[in-house]
């Protein structure tokens, strides 16, 4: 049922599935931090390569990954397409009377690389977790209890409501409803959303009653058997060092090492 959200968690190799989910949360945050602090295309490209290797290692289904990236690239296109023309600098080429600057092209490239690195890393590390696992990891990382409860309950009811939504849409289709861009369509969608909300509100009353009946007093117990093991620490250290590589290289610290590249 969760296959709608999770990116093929069952395809992962066993060693990856056995890891504590907290490892992935911390690794993803570190990756995002490194990516946004880099500003050279070459350093960013090597980080992106590392992320793609990781995606291969975790056997992420490439077709699904590209499907997820499609929506995101639309926004990136709008954002970066005009940067070469709006950033001042040395002219590189002319298009319809506007001149594109070298600095602008580089900025656009840097932003594209950064955003893609973080998104692919996020989908690889966190998107492959089951939603409940992520909720438990966030709880174990000491996020406020109420937020974690909200997350876990939302994930639980997401699928119930998705079924409800599909049922309502089937009912509409059975009455020969075809979406067009007119007021009738928008009103029908408004009623659809309204029906979804009314039913989910009724459901939430039943949920609350059921929770009270089971003695709920402000705490859901996080039932997971994740143990932080030595392997987790080792992998986290390895990932932190590998991801920090491009950053060290960019800031010129690697050259100071014996046998490092000549500046």
């Amino acid at each position: 049922m969760n296959s709608l959200l999770s990116l093929g968690s069952e395809r992962q190799p066993t060693w990856a599935r056995k890891r504590d989910p907290r490892l992935r949360v911390v690794a993803a945050l570190w990756l995002a931090l490194v990516a946004v602090s880099l500003s050279q295309p070459l350093a960013l490209a090597s980080l992106l390569l590392l992320v793609l290797l990781l995606a291969g290692l975790l056997r992420l289904p490439w077709s699904l990954l590209f499907q997820r990236l499609l929506a995101f690239e639309g926004f990136m296109l709008v954002l970066t397409l005009m940067l070469p023309f709006s950033v001042a600098g040395d002219p590189l080429f002319q298009l319809a009377g506007f001149s594109a600057s070298e600095q602008g092209v580089e900025r656009a490239l840097v932003i594209l690389l950064r955003a893609n690195t973080v998104v692919i890393g996020m989908l690889t590390l966190l998107g492959t977790l089951e939603p409940e696992q992520l909720g438990h990891a966030l709880g174990r990382l000491k996020l406020p209890d109420k937020l974690v409860h909200l997350f876990l309950l939302s994930v639980r009811y997401l699928f119930v409501l998705l079924d409800e939504y599909r049922r309502l849409r089937t009912a509409m289709r059975a009455r020969a409803f075809t979406p067009r861009s007119d007021r009738h369509t928008w009103r029908s969608y408004g009623w659809l959303v309204g029906m979804l909300l009314v039913r989910s509100m009724e459901r939430s009353q039943r949920v609350l009653a059921a929770m009270k009946c089971r003695g709920f007093h402000g705490r859901l117990y996080l039932l997971d058997n994740n143990r932080w093991q030595l392997t987790d620490s080792g992998l986290l250290l390895l990932f932190i060092l590998l991801a920090a590589g491009p950053w060290l290289w960019e800031s010129g610290m690697l050259t100071a090492l014996p046998g490092g590249a000549i500046p």
Partner: protein
């Protein structure tokens, strides 16, 4: 289009957005008692599902944002609900990013909160056509303020984003129209079918 990816905004904007969201979420979760938790969670899930609906507008189509509606129904609880929905969208669909989560949540939750505080009290007293009109105002305001805040966060990061921001604002116009109609119709429907949802005061 309301989700800014990582790596686009500058550090001060990221930190500012994260701080503002953390404060608002902290206040909202303190107000939200455990009795109301299932309601907020189920509604957050319902909004997540509703945002998957594709609505055709002319030659293209838009996804509903529904933050105005969320604010009217949830009040302060809309803030953590938005955060949770955005986290799920980021991690599982790749919309937005991790470090920008604070900014994105702020851009969507602030208009929701404004609708909840300013428009919801008026909605309680209306009927029929007026409900539709106030609902439409809430829907339009939710989208418009989110669009403006999104452009503002881009411009504060770098003035070079100005042309891109203008294009993005332009793409918000059809969404604004659809969102106004849909939110109006939804609230009119709720007023007729389950008016207690509008009169319960705030979660």
């Amino acid at each position: 289009m309301a989700h800014i990816p990582d790596g686009v905004l500058s550090a001060p904007v990221l930190v500012g957005g994260a701080l503002a969201t953390a404060l608002a979420v902290g206040y909202a979760t303190r107000k939200l008692d455990y009795e109301r938790l299932p309601q907020a969670a189920v509604l957050a899930a319902a909004f997540f599902v509703a945002s998957l609906v594709t609505v055709p507008v002319g030659p293209s189509s838009v996804h509903l944002l529904l933050n105005g509606l969320m604010g009217v129904l949830l009040g302060w609880a809309a803030v953590p609900a938005v955060l949770v929905a955005l986290l799920m969208q980021a991690v599982f669909f790749g919309y937005g990013g991790l470090l920008v989560l604070g900014v994105n949540a702020f851009n969507i939750a602030l208009p929701a909160l404004l609708c909840g505080l300013l428009i919801a009290p008026r909605l309680n007293r209306t009927q029929g056509r007026n409900t539709f009109i106030w609902g439409a105002i809430a829907g339009a305001a939710g989208v418009a303020v989110t669009g403006l805040l999104l452009c503002l966060s881009l411009l504060l990061s770098s003035p070079d984003y100005l042309p891109a921001g203008q294009v993005i604002l332009f793409t918000y116009l059809p969404l604004l129209l659809v969102e106004a109609f849909v939110t109006g119709a939804t609230l009119q429907f709720i007023q007729r079918v389950a008016p207690e949802l509008l009169n319960r005061g705030h979660l």
